[in-house]
Amino acid sequence: MPSHDVLVIGAGLAGQRAALAAAEDGASVGILSKVHPVRSHSNAAQGGINAALNPEDSWESHAYDTVKGSDYLGDQDAIEIMCKEAPNEILTLEHLGVTFHRNEEGRLGTRAFGGASAARTYYVADITGQAILHVLYEQLMRHDEVYRYEEFFTTTLVLDDDGHVAGCVARQMRDGTMELFAAKTVILAAGGNGQIYNPTTNALICTGDGIAMAYRIGGPLMDMEMIQYHPTTLAGNGLLITEGARGEGAHLYNAQGERFMENYAPNKLELASRDVVSRAEQTEINEGRGFPDGTVALDITKVPRKRIHEALREIVNVGRDFAGVDITREPIHIKPGNHYTMGGVKTDKDGRTEIPGLYAAGEVACVSVHGGNRLGANSLLDTLVFGRRSGKHAAHHARNHQMPEPPHSHVDDEEAKLRELIGRERNGRRVSEIRTELGRTMDEHVAVFRDEGGLLEAAQTVQRLKEEAKSVAIDDKGNVFNQDLFGAIELGFMLDNAECAIVGALERKESRGAQFRTDYPERNDDEWLKHIDLTLDGDRPNVSYSEVTITQWEPEERKY
């Protein structure tokens, strides 16, 4: 049985950063991922990463922007930590080899991003996430004391009799063997749940596995209703046009050629917070000022060609390959689309969850530094800062803890479940049908604008889909790369995520950040300046509340 002081589940930025930090602290580390680490979804982050590193900038300014961006739902102690530690994190990455953009003096150069009062986004062309992910992976290749389990799919977390985490069960995808991992601590870094929406900017692997696994063993989830719609995604397939485009000077127009952001955010215009820009676009579209395909136009042609090639190359390719548009010459049609999971597994500022020994970091977690709305380029920062903190604290925790010896029955149980699934005769729906219906339902009712009627309808649909999922059958009966089987397991995880998002959205009877209730259009600090916690109770989420930590910024009206 493989056993480690620290077992990291997920090898995106959060997971890899956590693994390196734990290893530096002397822990024996294993890192598991259902895809090869460099295929993790962190590689899709184009725009960059925030840090107040310039002498003229300050962490307080970064923190204030983040608090305001979160619509005051972010925990200010955690936000302070993130913003204070950001400069060091960037420098560490630079020293490890990330090829950050330089200014003329050869120092780190920045670009502007939405919701920020200074240009503090550091970047590598428009492959920032990929560049950082690959450099961290270089370090994993270098440090063979970090044991990599690549293409291992985790199916469940394992607790010991005292309710302390004891490891996990995972299936080696290549040959189908089921393995029990013993671990003194487990760090969940399994990413977000964008795939519960269709369309989404998220990759096919973003199925909320980590969120569901923590939930299933009793870990509370927090603010699951806070789901970000990104203002610039392609209509058909949900592909993202980075906020860097607006940062570099691109404008938004409606079908009548009006630069409509002037009416919604007269100061920050296109660079207001994402929730604000997405709502503005959706309002234009709903009120008939969009294009017939339900979009508005993003015009990048204002940005000089040389600059586009140097800094926005990837979206030139995206425009060309996926929309047939040369963005250097003509505007491209875009709309708001599902993008980011602000909610997740509830943690403290060291990544600790409420289950002893279990940590979470990155998009899977809700610390919460993003509150109701994440600022662009704050997510990579979140993965790195809280990845490192989790790694370090987990390593410490492991030092005072015995290696657990989880009984083999855990694997037997999982194996039996999967065997039953593989052997099932087909008499119900296919996984793909349920998945598509789920995605459409969420995009229709749990999107930029929400109301009770729509949410109740979505809740009903998800209940039905959960029933239907119990009898799905699969075609692949083999052991080698049985992707059909993984698809069915992921479907279960996704349905849990969707259910929690809807319950949270129904519960929060106000409009804050990404949650806009047309039936409760105002923010209501008196009643709702609080987190919504969900804990599994039977087979339904039980609702409770927790305080938002406020240190120095009292809630005020949000204007951009």
Partner: protein, 364 residues
């Protein structure tokens, strides 16, 4: 909606059956991708059809396959294009080459690609402790190595590389491009060791035959061959590293001869490559002698068949408008430094022509 036929090479290692072909019909709009079609077939017809994929946006590098014989990403290949090149109306999809097949379209990248990446010591090795703040480096140098950083490790070049087919030990295009990422990085303190290592390895930078296949197939315009050529230039020009196969001498002889004659003088190429023009000097080098010896039968055959006469071979004629060629040389040589345009650097005017063609990278 057009109806497309996919002809997919299937392999199930557990069945005991050899690989076989299976056709799937899929209705999808023409602008959708081959990956969309494969996933549609998987979702609706046979869930056991296997392909790695995730981002659907040419970012994660999972979905490398061969489509109508060409190594590429399934997710950025449009159905309409693929159908045009298809055979008998079907879009032919096979697993990538040069790597063992695990199942259907899934190949073992660890056994080949990642092993080779590991071979080039793929991490930054700076000297001493890091500075208090960032390393201060030339901004262009960062943009320069970003072209190699753009590699998504999809394996398309590995699949297409002709040298790898002949010599499986060849380090290969993607790993060598990765090596350039460190050699070109001014923060790395082991440039010379790295170059020496890659030059002395018989499967290293001189094992590439310049066939362009990797440049052609790379979906991210990394142009691995260009990175290999840069490694060679740095090795020889900056560090005087001796090239086992004499590639740099060959390249220099090649360009010198074109400068002089406008066309290639085959008879002078070999002596010049080794001896910088002097037949005597060339001949004292054992490698040159060996190669001359090896070429001898070819030379004789040429002479006896009348294709080459001793006179034309030795007194190579000049092109009529040789002046123009001279001018190109003067233009290039008058530039300060080695001007290395790349994917992320286009000329000041921002026109497509510069930059775009110089490294053979960018399309349209």
């Amino acid at each position: 909606m057009p109806d497309y036929t996919l002809k997919i090479r299937r392999f199930d290692p557990e069945s005991g059956r050899p690989a076989y072909w299976q056709e799937f019909g899929v209705d999808l709009p023409e602008e959708r991708s081959v990956l969309d079609a494969i996933l549609r077939a998987k979702d609706e017809q046979d869930g056991s059809l296997s392909i790695r994929c995730s981002c659907q946006a040419a970012i994660c590098g999972s979905c490398g396959v061969r489509i109508n014989g060409m190594s590429r990403l399934a997710c950025n290949t449009k159905l309409s294009e693929a159908a045009e090149d298809g055979r008998n109306g079907a879009i032919v999809v096979e697993p990538m080459g040069n790597m063992p097949v695990i199942k259907d379209l899934i190949v073992d990248m660890d056994a080949v690609h990642w092993k080779k990446v590991q071979r080039v010591v793929p991490w930054l090795l700076p000297e001493g402790d890091p500075p208090a703040r960032e390393y201060i480096v030339d901004p262009e140098s960062m943009i320069d190595v970003t072209q190699s950083m753009a590699c998504i490790h999809c394996g398309a070049c590995v699949s297409a590389c002709l040298s790898l087919e002949v010599d499986p030990e060849f380090i290969g295009p993607a790993a060598l491009a990765k090596a350039y990422r460190f050699v070109g990085d001014p923060r790395d303190a082991h440039t010379e060791d790295r170059l020496l290592d890659l030059a002395e390895d018989p499967h290293g930078i001189y094992d590439c035959t310049h066939c362009f296949a990797c440049v052609e197939v790379c979906p991210k315009d990394v142009a691995p061959m260009d990175q290999i050529m840069r490694l060679r230039r740095r090795a020889t020009a900056d560090y005087g590293i001796k090239d086992q196969n004499n590639g740099y001498g060959h390249e220099k002889a090649f360009t010198d001869l074109i400068e002089k004659y406008g066309t290639l003088s085959e008879a002078q190429l070999l002596p010049k490559s080794y001896g910088d023009g002097s037949l005597i000097r060339a001949q004292v080098k054992p490698a040159a002698l060996k190669e001359l010896g090896a070429k001898f039968p070819t030379v004789i055959r040429g002479l006896t068949s009348g294709k080459v006469s001793p006179k034309t071979a030795l007194l190579h004629h000049k092109l009529q408008d040789q002046d123009q060629i001279r001018r190109i040389y003067e233009e290039v040589e008058s530039k300060e430094d080695r001007l290395e345009l790349n994917l992320y650097i286009v000329g000041e005017s921002g026109g497509e022509e510069e930059g775009a063609t110089s490294e053979g990278g960018q399309e349209e």
